[in-house]
């Protein structure tokens, strides 16, 4: 796709630098060497995910492309790229920051919404971070169900967390603003940009994204970093 370098700006990056407690800086040091992408597990399985390209866009100020991309949500914070980068760029932190930025512009909420159940039920109520129900089917097939394994070893099927600890978790959640956030993503409604009309577009532009509790609108995102095999128009 032809890009217009005149449209780029770097205010986003400069604005976020101080907010991110010093973790997010030095993107301009990037050598574009590709060492990060070469070992990234997400890049190995996703057709178009590429951390190097995201950094490049951030430095160039082509922030629109980053924020509206599907790819931004494909990193899973393994930090392999940070460990290997020759100029010490903490890329997972960049992703964290960029996702917040994307959400502030109305992208990606539906992905976050998927985690709602874990956060509410497993984390806040039971105090555990791995859901006993939703487990990777491949692992279950290969290794067996962890609950069975625990039982065989004479442990309760699910890890037990004391009430005290659960109360503490909830307190942390309240203080850190997570509880509030959970309420906010209560209902997510998707704008269907593929059926966009000039009228909707106008509405979309003129209206700030609703920040009200319980109903966040979100935009479609696009495969901005390469077309998945099979052509262009299935983004």
């Amino acid at each position: 796709m032809l890009e217009k370098a005149n449209d780029w700006s770097d205010t986003f990056y400069d604005k976020w630098k101080p907010i991110a407690m010093g973790f997010v800086n030095g993107a301009e040091k990037c050598l574009q060497c590709g060492k990060c992408t070469g070992q990234c597990p997400a890049a190995a399985v996703n057709p178009s995910y590429n951390p190097r390209k995201i950094i490049y866009d951030l430095v160039n100020g082509n922030i629109k492309r980053v924020l509206s991309s599907v790819e931004l949500w494909q990193c899973f914070f393994c930090s392999g790229c940070f460990a290997t980068c020759p100029v010490d760029i903490n890329f997972p932190f960049f992703v964290f920051m960029l996702r917040l930025g994307a959400m502030s512009q109305g992208f990606g909420w539906e992905d976050v919404k998927q985690l709602e159940k874990y956060a509410e039920k497993d984390y806040l109520q039971d105090g555990i971070t791995v859901s006993p129900e939703e487990r990777n089917p491949y692992v279950i097939e290969e290794r067996g169900d962890i609950a069975d394994i625990r039982q065989k070893a004479g442990m309760p099927r699910q890890r037990e967390v004391s009430d005290e600890a659960i109360a503490e978790i909830n307190m942390i959640s309240d203080l850190s603003g997570m509880t509030n956030f959970m309420k906010k993503i209560g209902g997510v409604e998707l704008y269907d940009c593929s059926k966009c009309t000039p009228k909707i577009e106008e509405k979309c532009k003129s209206k700030e994204l609703p920040k009200k509790v319980g109903n966040v609108k979100t935009h479609y995102r696009f495969y901005n970093y390469g077309v998945p095999i099979g052509g262009a128009d299935n983004a």
């Binding site: 060497c33 060492k35 992408t37 990234c40 890049a43 590429n50 020759p86 100029v87 010490d88 970093y225």
Partner: protein, 338 residues
């Protein structure tokens, strides 16, 4: 009466400085830390960009020094103290355990570089995996014929190991590893035509006369495959090596099975370069390379009058430039030798 000159370091730069001075009827003391002359060129099979055999070239250079009665070579020696000023230095040299005092008019420093051992690069598995070697070890393998056993196999050359790396290596570019990696791939193709050569690079820096053409010849005429992307990992997999990187020209990660991985490691300053700088009273840069009086106009003068610099003790350099600097340093020092 004319004064003697002192040349520290008997690499290719020091040899040329000494010969040049001797040809001008000056007496030269050549102090070499090791038991032989030639420095890093001793480990070299052939030279770019003409692929001349290195050892005959070096032997010719060495014989010029050894046969010369104006040059007093002190092997296994080091300079331990320097006092006085330009035109009238008093130096003490530790020669094989004995201290000798000398008076010299000028000093030429040509102590060369150290080849970095990439032990910190656990992702490349150097010293942990067999068949992961540095370029210098590879040159020796070419010389003793060890690479012959890699017929029908994949050999991967990795650029910028230890260079262009703020975390585990140096920020500078080692300048010649792009060209010598191309040389290595070419040597492979010549010695073992059935082998495949793959070179992983960030940029190709061919900074010298004929170097660009040399590298393009490797790609075009010898079919060496150049892939843009810094190697991320080398993993041991069922008695071959798995090399992982990104082909950043397409934007996809790529994997490659290799039988030999060659790391183009950085050329770093000698470990004792800062101590020697203190003895001599000259400045170094942050890395430990010796600093010129002025980087554009005075490439061979050190920060102290009467002391000159030559060769790769100032920065990573190829032979051609080391030789040129040796000769230039010799001619500049003549004015202090009466």
């Amino acid at each position: 009466m004319s004064k003697k000159a002192l040349v520290i370091g008997g690499g290719i730069a020091g040899i040329n400085a000494a010969v040049e001075l001797a040809n001008n009827d000056k007496l030269v003391i050549l102090v070499e830390k090791n038991g032989e002359l030639g420095g890093n060129v001793n480990d070299m099979a052939a030279t770019f960009p003409e692929l001349d055999e290195a050892q005959p070239l070096l032997d010719e250079q060495k014989s010029k020094v050894e046969d010369n009665e104006n040059i007093d070579i002190k092997f296994n020696s080091e300079v331990i103290s320097v006092s006085g000023k330009a035109g009238d230095f008093k130096v003490e040299i530790n020669e094989d355990g004995n201290t000798v005092a000398e008076e010299v008019g000028a000093i030429i420093v040509a102590t060369g570089f150290n080849y970095m051992e990439p032990n910190d690069y656990s992702e490349y598995g150097y010293s942990r995996l067999d068949n992961v070697v540095t370029s210098q070890e590879y040159e020796r393998m070419v010389m003793n014929g060890d690479i012959k056993k890699y017929s029908n196999s994949n050999v991967v050359f990795v650029h910028c190991v230890g260079s262009r790396d703020r975390v585990k290596g140096y920020r500078y570019c080692s300048k010649i590893c792009c060209t010598y990696s191309a040389k290595h791939a070419l040597l492979l193709k010549q010695e073992v035509p059935s082998a495949n050569a793959f070179v992983f690079y960030i940029d190709i820096r061919a900074l010298g006369k004929g170097y660009e053409e040399f590298i393009r010849d490797a790609i075009e005429d010898y079919g060496v495959r150049y892939i843009r992307g810094r190697v991320s990992k080398v993993i041991n997999k069922e008695d071959t090596l798995l090399v992982k990187a990104e082909n950043s020209l397409i934007g996809n990660p790529v994997e490659l099975n290799a039988d030999l991985v060659v790391l183009a490691s950085a050329m770093e300053p000698q470990k004792d370069s800062k101590e020697l700088a203190e003895i001599l009273g000259i400045e170094t840069d942050d890395y430990g390379f010796y600093k010129e009086a002025q980087s554009n106009m005075e490439p061979v003068k050190s920060s102290k009058e009467g002391i000159f610099l030559a060769g790769s003790c100032t920065a990573p350099l190829e032979i051609r430039e080391s030789v040129a600097m040796g000769k230039a340093a010799a001619s500049e020092s003549l004015s202090f030798l009466g």
